[in-house]
């Protein structure tokens, strides 16, 4: 879930497609979709059918973080940062 939050929060205003996120996070579809479903149910991710980039192609389901999801992602990042700094200074 952290990998997904990190990927989505890197460009929070952009809509991402499922397969694109699989490639970015390294998650398999069997892991990614249940996570996306749960996060959408919890109001962390919003999903929308977006028009295709190329004409003649079908619309695709796209996802991005909601304000709550973005806050959670930033919180998780902030928690990770001191740990990372402590690791670097040790």
């Amino acid at each position: 879930m952290l990998a997904l939050l990190r990927t989505l929060s890197a460009r929070p205003r952009d809509w991402r497609h499922g397969y694109e996120m699989m490639k970015e996070t390294g998650l398999l579809s069997g892991t990614l979709y249940p996570l996306l479903m749960r996060m959408t149910d919890q109001g962390l991710v919003e999903a929308e059918w977006r028009p295709p980039a190329l004409p003649g192609r079908p619309a695709r389901h796209a996802y991005r973080l909601t304000a709550a999801g973005l806050a959670l992602a930033r919180g998780a990042d902030a928690e990770d940062r001191p740990r990372g700094l402590a690791g670097a200074s040790a």
């Binding site: 497609h17 499922g18 397969y19 694109e20 699989m22 398999l28 579809s29 069997g30 892991t31 990614l32 979709y33 249940p34 996306l36 479903m37 999903a47 059918w49 079908p58 619309a59 695709r60 389901h61």
Partner: protein, 203 residues
């Protein structure tokens, strides 16, 4: 390869049900992107595992688990047991091996064995068809065959009792059929609650 991936995603769509219809459509669209990358099969397999994990989380999924469980754990094994008992000689001899009375066989009643075997073949075939109709959610067909099955079972009970002087095994079969039919009726009620399809048949 293309057909297998399409079939896996179609199965995933069926497992996700109405509850997650948008997600199923999303998976289908993303399959094209995975196909362009040459990873359609692993993508489709992942979609199916995701859909299977979703099954117990929604009522339609739980209904699917129950109907498949009923078909594969109760209805089809009953048909297999009937066929196995037919192949072992006298139709109930495999049950006799588990303990109980041996039916009285004589030159007189052995003549009736082909008719008994035929009745059991009808019951076994009806079971396989009922399993298929259950999964197809064809409740009109299930109730028609269920009624036929009940009629054949009563005939079987009387026929075996009178000709072979044994009631224990036909009664065991009748009890198994009664449990099966009760389970099917309960499933039909659940189907009517969820989809409203079988309600007119249950009234």
């Amino acid at each position: 390869m293309r057909a297998v991936a399409d079939a896996l995603v179609a199965l995933a769509t069926r497992c996700l049900g109405r509850h997650r219809r948008d997600w199923a459509l999303a998976m289908r669209e993303e399959l094209e992107a995975a196909r362009a990358d040459g990873r359609s099969l692993s993508f489709a397999w992942g979609c199916l595992t995701a859909a299977l994990r979703e099954l117990p989380r929604h009522s339609e999924g739980r209904y699917m688990i129950a109907s498949h469980g009923l078909a594969f754990v109760l209805v089809i094994p009953t048909a297999a047991l009937l066929v196995a008992s037919l192949m072992s000689g006298f139709p109930y001899s495999c049950l006799a091996a588990l303990g109980g009375e041996e039916p009285i066989l004589s030159a007189g009643n052995l003549v009736a064995l082909p008719s008994l075997a035929l009745l059991l073949v009808v019951v076994a075939a009806a079971h396989l068809r009922i399993a298929w109709l259950l999964l197809e959610r064809d409740w009109a067909g299930v109730f028609t065959l269920g009624t036929l099955l009940a009629a054949v079972s009563v005939t079987l009970l009387l026929f075996t009792g009178l000709v072979f002087a044994t009631f224990v095994f036909p009664l065991a079969l009748a009890a198994a059929l009664a449990i099966e039919l009760a389970a099917i009726f309960a499933l039909a009620r659940r189907h009517a609650e969820l989809f409203g399809g079988a309600s007119e048949l249950l009234d």
